[in-house]
């Protein structure tokens, strides 16, 4: 009986969340600005209210469920980024998980140091990210003037530019951090910077910087590697994920970060992720990706996926287009990592092993390659189904039973792929993610001055067009 109740309540939960997502996207897709804003506030408030909702011992969102929700939000971000790279740009990447890990560690380190009275993390990372961005811009301007620089030479220029920027950031950041030290005060007499409010400012900054950090690393990595063909690119990105994980395992020995504690895992990260921040960053990511995809640059990205040679012949800079999608996708992954680190409070290199890196890939394919709606829905559904529904349900059958979810869910995947090979939603979009509908201003197309000339000249074939004009949807 208890199982049945649980079955019922989790089904309601999953369906409710999916409905919530579709409602959010629908509201964001409305034209007037106040309706969009209202939707955002309402969508935020509904979940926030449910967090505190409790009747007797029944809680709609238990602490466990809240954890799942944060996990789903991060997964949605990472998967959205991956869909941009793989679904929209056609580059099969396994590096997404590595960028996610970089973002997690980077932002965790910033807030960890801050909570321990050291502004150095924030200053060095912030300064480094900004200076490296400037360096990339300068090198790019320089290379644009010089024609025909091979990719690897360009890479070397960028590498040295970024290294110089990082060096400056460290040299400038350290004395600045020392100067800030008195402002933190001691444990007994906390200084002004120790106030909790500052941590609330440092946290979103650290997440943004983590995203930018992941984006810059992906720029440097993608520049030479994206010129490889798709399969070779896939293998190279797998290599990247493994390198990142190895660096994490050895972060306290070969890297100078003792607070990350290498393979033992980083503990003591302040749990700063609230529903407010998670939701705010989710909306930010959704808007970023959607605005990118539904623009001329986004269409160019799609063109590269469809046919590289034709895209080149249409005046599209294929190499830049690929790099842009890759960098943007990694930026989003870095942000997801930052949110994750501050919700879980503990980072272990095992979390970022490349095997787990297939999770976002599964979500993207499951939801539909090239469907942003499908990705967000699949991310929520997947987490709640696998980690919530199956784990707890099976948990009631015995202590070993939860492991069976890794049998049950691949079977679900198999079935879905057999029944709907293009994913749950294919490429269809909903609400906010939909392309704006093109409306014609002029009803009769040939009334214009120019048009008459066309009508007078032997008109281009019109009969051929007829069969399809009839069944236009």
């Amino acid at each position: 009986m208890e199982q049945l109740g649980y079955l019922l309540s989790s089904t309601v939960k999953i369906l409710g969340l999916i409905a919530w997502i579709f409602g959010l996207l629908w509201g964001l897709g409305r034209k007037p600005l106040w309706q969009k804003l209202l939707t955002i506030v309402a969508a935020f408030a509904v979940i926030q209210a449910l967090f505190g909702f409790k009747i007797g011992s029944f809680q709609f969102f238990s602490a466990f469920d809240q954890g799942l929700l944060f996990q789903a939000v991060t997964m949605a971000m990472v998967a959205l980024g991956l869909n941009l790279i793989y679904g929209f740009n056609g580059q099969f990447s396994l590096a997404q998980w590595g960028f996610y890990g970089l973002g997690a560690y980077c932002s965790a380190d910033v807030t960890y140091r801050w909570s321990n009275g050291d502004a150095g993390g924030l200053i060095v990372v912030g300064l480094g990210v900004i200076l490296a961005g400037v360096a990339i811009g300068l090198v790019r301007m320089f290379l644009n003037r010089k024609r025909g620089v091979p990719v690897l030479s360009a890479f070397t220029f960028y590498l040295f530019g970024i290294l110089a920027a990082v060096f400056i950031a460290v040299q400038v950041g350290k004395p600045l951090a020392t100067a800030c030290l008195p402002l933190f005060g001691t444990v007994d007499a906390p200084g002004p910077l120790s106030a909790p409010i500052f941590l609330q400012i440092v946290f979103p900054l650290s997440v943004i910087f983590a995203g930018a950090f992941a984006a810059e690393v992906s720029f440097l990595f993608g520049l030479p590697v994206l010129s490889l063909g798709s399969d070779y690119f896939g293998i190279a990105t797998l290599g990247f994920s493994i390198v990142v994980q190895t660096l994490m395992v050895n972060s306290d020995t070969i890297l100078p970060f003792p607070e990350m504690k290498g393979g033992r895992g980083m503990i003591g990260i302040t749990k700063l992720t609230t529903w407010f921040w998670a939701f705010a960053f989710l909306i930010f990511v959704i808007m970023l990706i959607r605005n990118f995809v539904r623009s001329s640059t986004g269409r160019a990205t799609l063109a590269v996926r469809e046919d590289e040679i034709a895209a080149r012949a249409m005046g599209i800079d294929v190499a830049s287009s690929k790099l842009l999608a890759f960098v943007l996708g990694s930026f989003v992954a870095g942000i997801g990592g930052g949110i994750y680190a501050h919700y879980i409070g503990f980072l272990s290199p095992n979390t970022f092993s490349f095997i787990k890196g297939f999770d976002p890939l599964i979500i993207v394919v499951f939801g539909g390659l090239g469907s942003l709606t499908g990705t967000v829905a699949a991310a929520f559904g997947w987490i709640f189904f696998l980690e919530g529904f199956l784990r707890v349900l099976l948990g009631q059958l015995g202590t070993d039973a939860p492991s069976w979810r890794f049998v049950l869910y691949p079977i679900t995947l198999l079935l879905l792929m057999l029944l709907r090979p293009k994913g749950l939603l294919g490429t269809t979009e909903w609400g906010f993610f939909q392309a704006s509908i093109v409306k014609r201003k002029i009803a009769a197309p040939l009334d214009k001055g120019k048009g008459e000339g066309v009508a007078a000249t032997p008109p281009p074939p019109s009969e051929v067009g007829k069969p399809t004009t009839g069944n236009k949807h």
């Binding site: 605005n291 640059t297 063109a303 399809t468």
Partner: protein
């Protein structure tokens, strides 16, 4: 050859050579196109015609020689840069963005002239809204000209063959070129479609003041619309002249039908 001296030369290919290992796919090709010319490049299969197109558009680099467009060298530039300078092309085997709509196919060609950048699109600035609407309107007008406006929302893949060809030509023209390269535009078309295609080619040349170079196997098209022909065989130019001159050229007949074919009554 009279028209080649007075008029402005828009494309000048000088001794273009491409070697794939030991094979000279194109050997010392010279090609001059005056403004608003409609010329043909013909030859048997494997003569190096498509390779010549790929050399002009920069898809494969030259081994030797030079390509000048409007008096400036374009060889060594990236294909997308060459397109932005004003050379557009279609492909022998149609290369549409097949999962995208007809409208998007044309809008993609406008990308280089979109007039707004990445920051505009992410912030949805006023410039984005205006330019995007303008671009879409322009693309739709364009589709009107080609009688494709009714199927603007159709996925390119689902169109019949003849229409796909027209979408491809429309898309190439949306790049705003001065020179259009058509690679076998009549391939796989039935006689009526070929007739319509010939009208279309004449029409776009007048409407957009284009210079057109086309590769074609259908002699009806070549002889019907081209003013001047260059014949290639095994990577080399074997003849040049007006369609009439070419038809009577012994070397050309031999290249197509084999030695002695011209004399033999059986052929």
């Amino acid at each position: 050859m009279a028209d080649m001296n007075g008029d402005q030369i828009i494309l000048d290919v000088k001794q273009a050579t491409k070697a794939f290992g030991g094979l000279l796919a194109v050997n010392g090709l010279d090609l001059r196109l005056p403004k608003r010319a409609l010329q043909g490049l013909i030859g048997p299969n494997g003569a190096g015609k498509t390779t010549a197109f790929n050399l002009i558009t920069g898809i494969i680099p030259l081994t030797n020689g030079a390509v000048e467009f409007k008096g400036e060298r374009v060889d060594g530039l990236e294909p997308f840069e060459i397109t932005r300078l004003g050379i557009a092309r279609t492909f022998q085997n149609i290369r549409l963005f097949s999962n995208l709509s007809v409208l998007d196919n044309v809008r993609i060609a406008y990308h280089a002239h979109a007039g707004y950048g990445l920051v505009d699109s992410i912030l949805r600035s006023r410039r984005f809204t205006e330019k995007e609407a303008e671009l879409t309107e322009k693309a739709l007008d364009f589709l009107d000209i080609f009688k494709l406006a009714d199927i603007a929302d159709e996925t390119a893949r689902n169109l019949p063959y003849g229409q796909q060809r027209r979408v491809e030509i429309a898309r190439a023209l949306a790049c705003n070129p001065a020179l259009l390269l058509l690679d076998e535009p009549a391939a796989g078309m039935n006689p009526r479609e070929i007739l319509e295609l010939m009208e279309l080619i004449h029409f776009i040349r007048d409407r957009f003041e284009l210079t057109i170079l086309l590769i074609e196997h259908q002699m009806r098209v070549v002889m019907g619309i081209c003013e001047y022909l260059t014949v290639m065989d095994f990577g080399e130019v074997i003849a040049r002249g007006t369609p009439r001159e070419i038809q009577e050229n012994q070397t050309v007949v031999e290249a197509y039908l084999g030695k002695g074919a011209g004399k033999s009554a059986a052929s």
